[in-house]
Amino acid sequence: MSLILDEHREYLIDRPRVSAFERAISEVVKPGDVVLDLGAGTGILGLFALKAGAARVYAVDGIGLTQLEREIFAANGFADRAVCIKGLSTRVELPEKVDVIVGDLIGRFGIDGGLVEFYTDARRRMARPGVRTVPSRVDLYVAPVEAPQTWAEVEFWRESPAGFNFDRAYKIAVNTGHPVKYRPEQMLGKPALLATIDVTRDGDPILSGTAVSAVHRAGTMHGVAGWFEAQLSPSVTMSNSPLREDVINRRAVFFPVDPPTAVAANDSARVTMRISPADTLVNWRVELTDGAGATRKKFSHSTFSGMLLNPEDLAKSRPDYVPKLTIWGEARRLVVNLCDGKRSVAQIEREVYELHRSLFASPGEASAFVHEVIVPYGTSD
């Protein structure tokens, strides 16, 4: 059962998304352009670029669809104009600079799909000055929201599931963003623009914004809804906003507030977020004020408090931690050292098995271990 393939099938049956990208790419890509497709998947965006007349498409993907991409490009007559590369784009070198970068790394809220990290790197290392990007800009929107069913999933941890105390998990859940498909009537206030990501230039590593949403009806505010609107090209936008008819099939985000609070028409919700896209770390503060401007309640949450930390891992992140290698680390170092351009894989597997018999129940296990290192890091160049 291929979950990866089914995920990409879902992308392809999402007509608003596919249509938006096809129109945007045909607007941005000029005949003769060299195009980089980041996170290429099955290659659909690269196919649109080739259809629009691109001279060459470099399709980069790290999740293992590379050979499938090659066969799909070939089946559509583009074998000579598509170069498929397996790996993280931040570790890839291209033989030429590109004119256009395309991709759908927007995630659910603009900051959770790698957009900032991978586009920034690609612009700096792989693109001509003035490179065109699809998308060029992503706006983040927030609104106070009534979401009792989603709140119930958070509250679940305080309800002694199976008769045990799981309260600690509540603290994690209430400091986590949850994917949600909203209905328009769940919005308690008009969406407000929180922040904008300009994909064409380097920005602050920390994205900050404040948005004020006027509450337009009484209800219970369970949290803040977040979604994006992406400018794919000068005339094409794409969004997972629950308020748009052409919404794509991608859930938005629910940021809880603790506790859920009754709101009245003419209240205001002032939402401030600080976001580190590199860590997908989000701080959200919400100040609820009444019609006269008096503060009724303040909320403060952070996905840092929602992170599943282990003290052992945390200790290793401190600047003053002095590490040594475990026995597994020593075995890994041995594999790396044996990749000297002279030894074959079979020789390396034998040596690793002989020197670390205590780690491997069989030569087969040692082979799999060696394979884990050689596939991402080995080369014959």
Binding site: I206, R274, A278, L281, S305, L309, L314
Partner: protein
């Protein structure tokens, strides 16, 4: 004096320790024991007088020593950019 935690840090309590992440440097710092209490009181009160008053109810120490230890911690935190100090209380 007024003490404000920087917007560039996020923090949480974890295993009896306050763990602070500096978003700018991506470094973690930890405060335990009295340092843990001092940080959480700064977060709650934001005023050196109120923090010291609370600490004196928890620790049976010479007030002058406690004040000196607190000021030393605040200076270290301010030097790392983790708090902002101003004279208004």
């Amino acid at each position: 004096m007024k003490i404000e935690i920087s917007d560039e840090v996020v923090w949480r309590e974890f295993e009896g320790e306050v763990v602070i992440l500096d978003l700018a440097s991506q470094h973690y710092f930890g405060l335990t024991g009295a340092g843990n209490d001092m940080w959480q009181l700064i977060a709650e009160h934001g005023s050196s007088d109120k923090v010291i008053e609370q600490l004196l109810t928890r620790y049976d120490v010479d007030p002058a020593n406690l004040k000196a230890d607190f000021e030393k911690l605040v200076n270290e935190l301010a030097a790392k950019g983790m708090v902002r100090v101003s004279s208004a209380d």
